[in-house]
């Protein structure tokens, strides 16, 4: 049993030997796995801007005087806004994303949300991740996408979450999605050295147990997945050399790992990364500008890395946040939980531009609790990604039909 070495502290001197005959390594050495026409090689990188990203200071309505009236302390000065047109522009920290926008690689969908908005982080996050605003389901929309596509059951990396804990969006009934906060962390401590895989495999396969359990086979399968994937992943991605300089912060490291995974031909269809917290009730400007600058810089590096490896047409970035924030600033130079907000689609396959209705700031006076009302259902964005990017009919995953947006080439 290979775990013994760790326990005895005899790891030093034992060379790590890749095993090219390993069934899993063989499966992955094959060409990218077959999928639906046009989509077989594509990957979605979904970025959760958790905490509730203030849409109005992200995609700034600098042409609207009401914005400056309602946010005397918080408004981004007209001169600082990275103007897109006479009406809106980007937060000054988002220079890299503005550069990609100017190249036609960024679609901004304004006013995205859902009916009867919930102002709880927890519930609204759940709604965005499960795509079920009107019921409680335990699977995420990408989890259901994995379950519905029968491709590559042997592939342990169809979905990868770059996080400590598996987010709900990746939770599935039939697909094991690893949560990997870093290559170093995705590792069984006891398996740091590996000299007797066969002995372990023999032990793990030995089912001569004095009981039956409806879960025994499942436990064995997951134990085997965990062992193989944690052992193989570092080797499978080892050949990837990043060709961009990522910022040395959380989102930079996460996107660097995402680029490494999607660039290593693992057959990965979706990667989750997260960045935050955008919950800016107090002193918003400093916090949010900083977070958006980090995000923008990391996405800029990520995109350059994709281009350098010829992957930019294979990869689509989609951001989301559980809600936007109140139109009017609060008394603490911050904003409280709101409703609709803009989201970004970025990639070589994107039709750049501004989509959806511009936010109507008059709502601060006329009701809707002073929030930006949603004008595009978030499930329309998901339906677009499923149908036009992942090549999958969205009805089954989303439990209904939603119009798609012309944001993808």
């Amino acid at each position: 049993m290979r775990r013994r070495n760790f326990l005895l502290g005899t790891t030093a001197g034992l060379a790590l030997v890749a095993n090219p005959d390993h069934v899993f390594a063989r499966a992955l050495a094959q060409a990218p796995l077959p999928g639906l026409p046009g989509a077989e090689d594509r990957c979605l990188v979904i970025v959760n801007l958790y905490g509730g990203n203030d849409g109005l200071n992200c995609v700034v309505p600098h042409g609207d005087d009401r914005y400056y009236q309602l946010r005397p302390a918080l408004a981004i000065a007209k001169s600082a806004v990275l103007a897109i047109d006479g009406r809106v522009g980007l937060n000054p920290g988002m220079r890299a994303i503005k550069r990609l926008y100017d190249q036609g690689r960024v679609a901004i969908v304004q006013g995205v949300g859902y009916p009867n908005p919930d102002h709880s982080h927890f519930r609204s996050t759940e709604i965005w991740q499960t795509a079920a605003p009107d019921r409680y389901v335990h699977t995420g929309w990408l989890g259901r996408y994995f379950d519905e596509t029968a491709i590559a059951q042997t592939n342990l990396f169809r979905g990868v979450s770059v996080s400590k804990v598996l987010p709900e969006v990746m939770v599935s009934d039939r697909t094991d999605v690893p949560a990997i906060s870093g290559l170093r962390q995705y590792n069984m401590i006891a398996d740091d050295s590996s000299s007797s895989r066969d002995a372990y495999a023999a032990q793990a396969r030995d089912r001569r147990l004095p009981f039956r359990s409806p879960y025994l086979a499942h436990v064995m399968e997951i134990e085997s997945d965990a062992q193989r994937s944690s052992e193989e992943l570092p080797k499978l991605v080892a050949g990837y050399v990043p060709k961009a300089t990522y910022p040395s912060n959380g989102i930079g490291r996460s996107l660097a790992l995402a680029a490494q995974i999607v660039g290593s031909n693992l057959g990965t269809r979706a990667v989750y990364v997260e960045h935050g917290s955008f919950d800016t009730h107090v002193s918003q400007q400093k916090t949010q500008n900083n977070l958006l600058a980090q995000l923008s810089e990391a996405i800029g590096a990520f995109y350059d890395d994709l281009v350098a490896h010829g992957n930019e047409k294979r990869v689509l970035i989609l951001t989301f946040s559980e809600f936007g924030r109140r139109i009017e600033e609060n008394g603490n130079s911050g904003t409280d939980h709101g409703e609709a907000s803009p989201l970004f689609l970025i990639g070589g396959g994107v039709h750049g531009g501004i989509y959806g209705a511009y936010p109507d700031l008059a709502l601060a006076d006329t009701g809707n609790m002073g929030n930006v009302r949603f004008t595009t259902d978030f499930r329309s964005v998901y339906a677009t990604v499923l149908e036009r990017w992942l090549g999958r009919s969205p009805e089954g995953v989303l439990g209904g039909e939603f119009s798609t947006l012309p944001v993808l080439a």
Binding site: R4, R123, H138, I189, Q203, R208, S213, Y215
Partner: protein
């Protein structure tokens, strides 16, 4: 053995084989023995030390169940000291919630009445609320409420938890007022807490929401009060009844529905016996609940001594939750206190106490296990067994220096011999130093490290993931 696993869409799998419905709730006869005693202690609590298992092994199922349902009054439990240092309602250090988590895990490990904590954990996943870290007392108070009703009356618990501050905040009862009814709680009360979907209409939800109006939480001191001015005292039409109902009466009407007893019966069977229990078995337990007017103590006692509970079909038929896995490991080793490190480990395994993933609680079953959570489980074991903590084990230091004897003792204490021959052979070989790596023989010098390594090997086997 042929693969017989069909994990259904919800990740909950029923054991194969036939239920003998007529005999299912009859008391199981004879002395328990080690395996059945360990099974009972895992289900009714968080496992047993070898000594505790030995003590239960010579009891009958009926005597063992009777002893487990005897529990001290919950008001004898003192709150965590970190919390008593904080003034009521005062926004506190957010990390205090970790102290409350650790305190509860410690109770699970050391309480003389583990069933009290097991039922509290059950209700925590059933009547879920999510903590607001700035108001830790609200979370603690709900925990104490659930503990008071651990084996109490389900109807009374449902009435009281409906007016609990954590619940009022979590499901918006706090903002449910006559002028603007909020249906959140009214819906979950029926859908997730008492009846299940399709057992009521949207009109019932609306009418129930009206009946629940007027309850308010005062954030200054966490107190709950009823404000008649915010209450809708009008006539409501609810589940076929008509009257100026308040919340308590809504609960009473819900508990008159035949489905209500079935709903709780299904929950208890899923928790204690096996997942996806057959409808006839659910109905038998539902009848018991009705017979005892929803008093839990006699019903849980009947389940714990029953034939179906002690059947092969129920044995190791559940997946250990992370809390069961972690507390059970400390228990198995005979350790006296939890370490703060388990809080992060539990989160990586997918269970943060007081932060259930949804209002439906933790989905359980196969949903607990992904490669990520499995790595977290195995790494937790690695860290525990390589730590000073493991040296505090009540029995590890007394293992024989004879490798085969020691290996058998480890397999017995950790797995009650639910170990495949190849795995037992590996443990033996590991202890004797004859495995695939060249090791020294077991000796006084390497004893401590080698014995905790042997426990790791036993805990890393598939059977240990099963409850």
């Amino acid at each position: 053995m042929a693969a017989h696993t069909v994990v259904d869409v919800g990740g909950m799998a029923r054991p194969s084989g036939q239920l003998d419905a007529a005999a299912a709730l009859r008391p199981h006869a004879g002395l328990l023995g080690v395996r059945a005693a360990a099974h009972l202690l895992r289900r009714a609590g968080f496992g047993g030390t070898p000594d505790e298992i030995a003590r239960f092994a010579v009891m009958t199922a009926a005597d063992a169940a009777a002893s487990l349902v005897r529990m001290p009054p919950a008001n004898a439990v003192a709150p965590p000291p970190e919390l008593t240092a904080v003034a009521l309602g005062r926004p506190a250090n957010r990390n205090i919630i970790r102290d409350v988590q650790l305190w509860w895990l410690g109770r699970m490990l050391t309480t003389p009445a583990p069933l009290q904590e097991k039922m509290t954990l059950y209700f925590h996943g059933h009547f879920t609320s999510r903590a607001t870290p700035r108001f830790p007392w609200i979370t603690y108070n709900q925990n104490a409420l659930l503990r008071r009703y651990a084996l109490g009356n389900l109807r009374e618990l449902t009435r009281d938890v409906s007016k609990d501050a954590a619940m009022l905040i979590y499901l918006d009862g706090n903002v449910n007022v006559a002028a603007h009814p909020n249906e959140n709680y009214a819906r979950e009360l029926m859908e997730l807490f008492t009846l299940g979907v399709d057992e009521y209409t949207e009109d019932d939800v609306r009418e129930s929401a009206r009946a629940w109006t007027g309850w308010r939480v005062d954030r200054r001191d966490d107190s709950v009060s009823f404000n008649p001015a915010l209450h809708d005292a009008g006539i409501k039409q609810f589940l076929g009844r008509r009257g100026d109902f308040d919340g308590d009466q809504i609960v009473d009407i819900i508990f008159e529905q035949p489905q209500c007893a079935r709903f709780f019966a299904g929950g208890l069977l899923n928790w204690f016996v096996y997942n996806d229990p057959e409808p006839p078995l659910v109905e038998s337990v539902a009848q018991l609940l009705r017979k005892h007017d929803f008093e839990l103590s006699p019903v849980v006692e009947a389940i714990l001594r029953s034939e179906v509970f002690h059947s092969d079909r129920a044995y190791r038929a559940l997946v250990k939750s992370p809390v069961e896995f972690v507390v059970g490991s400390y228990k198995t080793l005979g350790l006296g206190a939890m370490d703060i490190g388990v809080i992060d480990a539990l989160q990586q395994m997918g269970q943060r106490l007081f932060f259930p993933p949804t209002v439906a609680g933790w989905p359980g079953g196969a949903n607990w296990l992904t490669s990520g959570t499995m790595i977290a489980r195995q790494n937790f074991l690695s860290r525990l067994l390589n730590s000073q903590t493991a040296n505090g084990s009540s029995w590890l230091g007394n293992l024989s220096l004879h490798p085969t004897t020691a290996a058998q003792r480890v397999a017995q204490n950790v797995l009650q011999d639910d170990v495949a021959p190849a795995a037992l052979h590996e443990i033996d070989a590991f202890l004797s130093g004859t495995g695939s790596a060249a090791l020294a023989e077991l000796s006084v010098e390497n004893f401590q490290q080698r014995s905790s390594g042997a426990v790791y090997l036993a805990m890393a086997t598939p059977a240990y993931q099963l409850n």
